[in-house]
Symmetry: C2
Subunit: 261 residues, 2 copies
């Protein structure tokens, strides 16, 4: 039996979630609420001591790290529709893209996301309540990130992350202007992992992702959203989660526009 613990179809959680839908595998989906810090709760830390989602439980075997889970699904279920090229060179190209998401693209977008949203998530907590929450986070780096997000990230850091986002968007656009998918003619984990971060950027970063500057990137985002597996994934998210996400999107959009003025 497969069980996926995730925050639902966004960011790193989206990667294995969409891969599972694309592969047509049956699985139990457990959504954790980040606003309630459920991933830092004792019951979840028994499953992943790092207190991070997504996590895949396959008959009791625990697999962590979104990209590793995606490759695991390919290794374990090769006969379901393949999301990895059959040839070694294609796989290498795919892995350069998935590695790039994990080491570069994900981080710059995530810092701005934290800057815009996480502050709000902890505003209702006083200092003592906040520190109690932070104490439950197992990874020291994550504790630092929460404290920084609450206090406000340094201006130079935010500017540097925005530079990296602009560079990332241009890199994706240049590739997608000459290729249907990131690795040639096949839809692969490279697309899924980049989509996990790029989806919705036309709302949060309208000055960078728009019809004029990034037509190929937008067409690719639309193409993935229209895939049956992707539609199903978004339909099946709990309505409470859907509302939270819509509210967040509206907020991101407003802040994106405000930042742009």
């Amino acid at each position: 039996m497969l069980t996926l613990y995730s925050f639902g179809p966004g960011a790193n959680s989206l990667k294995p979630l969409l891969a599972l839908y694309e592969k047509g595998l049956e699985f139990k989906s457990v959504f954790l609420n980040p606003a309630k810090f459920e991933h830092h709760s004792d019951w979840f830390k028994k499953i992943n001591p790092n207190g991070q989602v997504p996590v895949l439980d396959h008959d009791g075997k625990i697999v962590t790290e979104s990209t590793v889970i995606c490759e695991y699904l390919e290794d374990e279920f090769p006969t379901s529709p393949a999301l990895r090229p059959a040839d070694s060179y294609g796989r290498a190209q795919m892995r350069v893209w998935t590695k790039w998401v994990d080491e570069y693209f994900c981080w710059c977008v995530s810092t701005i996301g934290w800057h815009r949203m996480v502050g709000n998530m902890v505003r209702h907590l006083n200092d003592e309540e906040f520190e109690k929450m932070v104490e439950r986070i197992p990874l020291k780096e994550q504790q630092v990130k929460w404290r920084r997000a609450r206090a406000g990230f340094p201006k130079e850091m935010l500017e540097e992350e925005m530079r990296k986002i602009a560079y990332s968007v241009k890199r994706l656009e240049a590739r997608l202007a000459v290729s249907l998918w990131l690795v040639g003619e096949q839809y692969t984990l490279a697309d899924i992992c980049n989509f996990a971060i790029a989806n919705g950027m036309e709302f949060g970063f309208p000055e960078l992702v728009n019809a004029k500057d990034t037509p190929a990137l937008l067409a690719w985002i639309r193409r993935i959203n229209e895939r049956p597996a992707c539609r199903l994934m978004f339909e099946r998210q709990p309505s409470e989660w859907k509302e939270r996400r819509q509210a967040q999107q509206a907020q991101t959009q407003a802040q994106g526009q405000a930042a742009n003025r």
Copy 2:
């Protein structure tokens, strides 16, 4: 035909180099001299526009990124001695370790390495010469890193990296105290990729890696150094390179001891 462009058996270059020796594959080895900034030269940027080693050329197909090259060799030459577990779960565990090297362990050790060594590499250049050298570097982040290394990294940054190194060493020791190799009973890419960073740490970081605090880590480093493939790899490095490395090691050791006083 296989050609590997590398800086020789250290850090990221060591990963595919040792994998090639372990798999007993015939290949041409091209060593670039980092002290002469050969990786930023025009001829090499035609091979890898990012100006980074290692790079594998397999019959004209160019594969970049050390960890991706290692997985490529496993995909392409599965019948040579395998450095990847046969089962999906073992592979996932291996990838959690290789990913951790790329995203965490490598970076903290590398920053201290840059702090201790790169300053010296560019001390003989005046401002204009240095900026000319930096201009040839294709990746903006690498330019920033060179400038920072020359000017001196901020103290808080160095302290934070040292904290991460201490955490990394403890994590490796804890695992190796209960397991012969990082992923159970099989020597895999997880060992090779971590060894690439950990080898020599008993000289550069004697206060962290020593017989009293990390006996299991030291035994594992020794075990890998004694493997025939590893001996062959170190023997086959050019003597000029060997001397440079010994000088660097002596310098690192002296600075490690000085830092410890």
